[in-house]
Amino acid sequence: MKYSSQMVAKPYFIFALMLLAGEILFGLTMSIQYIYGDFAFPAIPFNVLRMVHVNLLIVLLLFGFMGSTYYLIPEEAERELWSPLLAKITFWIFLIAGVATILGYLLVPYAELAKLTMNDLWPTMGREFLEQPTITKIGIVFVVLSYLLNVTMTVIKGRKTTISIILLTGLFGLAFFFLFAFYVPDNLVMDKFFWWFVVHLWVEATWELILGALLAFVLVKLTGVDREHIDKWLYLIIAMTLIAGLAGTGHHFFFMGAPGYWLWIGSIASAAEPIPFFLMILFAYNMIKNRRIQDDNKMALTWAKGTAVVGFLGAGVWGFMHTLAPVNYYTHGTQLTAAHGHLSFFGAYVMIVFTMISYAMPILRGRPHGNCAKAQKVELASFWLMVIGMIGLTLALTVAGVMQIEMQRIPDSAHALVFMEAQAKITPVYIVRSLFGVMTFLGLLTYFYSFFIKDDKKVA
C-alpha cells in the first residue's frame, strides 16, 4: 500500500462481502418458495424476499465500487485521499441507512413502511429495484455526493490518468441517472420509460465505464503493460459501450407502450451490446499474455479473466439471446430474463468487485505479494464453486424459461397453459436451480475461509 488513506477501502470491502452472503441467503429462500409456496409464508412473502435480495445486490455493488475507488484513486492520483474522515463517516451513514431500510422491509408490511416514511409526500416507492423509501433515496444521494466530492477533489489535486477520469465519468453518470428515481409520473408508461433511465443506464452504460476502469487498473498493476496500451483498449471498450448501450435502452421499450420505432432501434443497437464485453475478454487475455511482471497474487488475475469471460457470457451471450424484438416478443418477462439477470450481474459486477478485493485486500492486510499459496488454492476452489454454481443456476433458469415459453407463450389462446400450471410443470428444474444456488453459497463460504488461512512457513 502506497498511501495510508487507502485503508478506508477495507471496511467497504468487508461489508460488501457480508451483504453478498445475505443476498444469496435471501435468494435461496426465494428459490425454496418457488418449490414449496408455504415455506416462510406468511412470515416473509415472496415480494419482501425479492426486495431484500435485489436491494442487497445494489447496495453491495455500491459498497464494492466505493471501496474499489477509495483504494484506486490515491494510487492513480499519487496523493492521499482528500478526506479519509469523510470516507469513514459516509461508510457508517450508508451502513446504518442500508441496514435500517432492510429491517424496515422485514419488520413491517410494505404498505406500513410507505406510511411510516411518509411516501405520500413524494411517492417513489414500489417500483422494481427502487423500492427504497424516499428518505432512503435522499440519503443515497447525499452519500453518493460526499463520495463524489471526496474522489473528485483527490483527482483534481493529484495526477490525472485516463483510468481515474473514466472512473469518475462513470460515477458521475451513476449519480446523475439515479435522479430519475425521484420522477414518478401518474402515467404508468411514462413511469416505466424513465425508470429504465436509472436501471438500464446504470448497468448497461455508466457501470460498464466503472467496470472497465477497475479492470484496467488491476491489469496495469498486475501485468506491468504500458499505460498507453491499456488506455487505448479502455477507450475502445467504453466507446462501444456508449454507442451500443445508450440506444440499446430501446430493447426495454418494445412492449410497454413506447413508440414502435424502438422495435428496430432497440434491436439493432443492442445487437452490438456484446461487443464491449467481447473486447474486455481480448483486453484481459492480451494484457496478460504481454505482461512484463510476474505478480505472486495469481488469484487477482484469475478473477480479472473470470469477470471478463463470465461478464461476456451473462451480459453478452445471454443478453443477445433475447434482445431482438421478434424473439423478445415471446421471451419478455419470462424466466429467461431472470437467467440473463443473474449471470450478467454476477459476471460483470460481482466478479469485478471480487477482482478488486482479491487484488487489494492482501495488500491492505500487509501482504504485498498476495496471500500465501495455500490461501490462494482455497480461493481458487471458491472461484470455481461460485462460477460453476452461477452458470449452473443460469442454465437451469434458461431451461425453465424455454419450457415456460413453449407451454405458455407459443400456443394460441385456446391451447396455451395457464401461468400457474406451466410453473408447476417446471418445478423439477427449480429444484436444480436451488442446488446450484447452494453450491454458489458454499463457494462464498469457502472464499471467506480463505481469509483466515495463515502461511505455515512464516511466523506471522
Binding site: 419482501v48 422494481e128 413506447a258 419478455h332 407463450r409 389462446s413
Partner: protein, 148 residues
Amino acid sequence: MSERITKDMARNIYFGGGIFAILIFVGLAFDSAHQIPKLSHSENITKSVVAGKKIWENNDCVGCHTLLGEGAYYAPELGNVFQRLGSSDETTFKAYMQGWMAAQPLDTPNRRKMPQFHLTPEQVNDLADFLIWTSKVNTQQWPPNIQG
C-alpha cells in the same frame, strides 16, 4: 487489431461516438415522451386510476407479478388480466377482483401464496380501474396470447 489504432484515435472514437450516441438517445427520448401520452390514452387516467397505481406501488405488487412484462416472475402477468379474468367487461372484472382480493391467501397447500393486503372495497375498485387502464395501452400486440 490494436497495433494500428493509437490511443489518440481510440479517445476520438470514444468522444465522437459517445456524443453522437447521447444526441441520438436524447432526441429519441424527447420524441417518445411526446408520443407516449397519446399511445397510452393519458386522457383516460382518472383519479381512480391514479389512486390504483399508488395502491399497486404501496403494496409492492411488482415484487411478484409482471405488469407489461416487467417485474418479478413469481406470479401471473397482470397487464391483460382484465381480458383474461374479466372477459373485458368492467362489472365482471370488478366483481372478480373484489372476490379474489378478499380470498387471499388461498388455502391450497404449497401453492405459491399471495398475502392478504386488507384493502377496502374502494381501494380494490381503484386497483381494478388502474389495471383496466393498463390493459388498453398500445403494447405492439404483446403478449402473444391471453395467458400473458
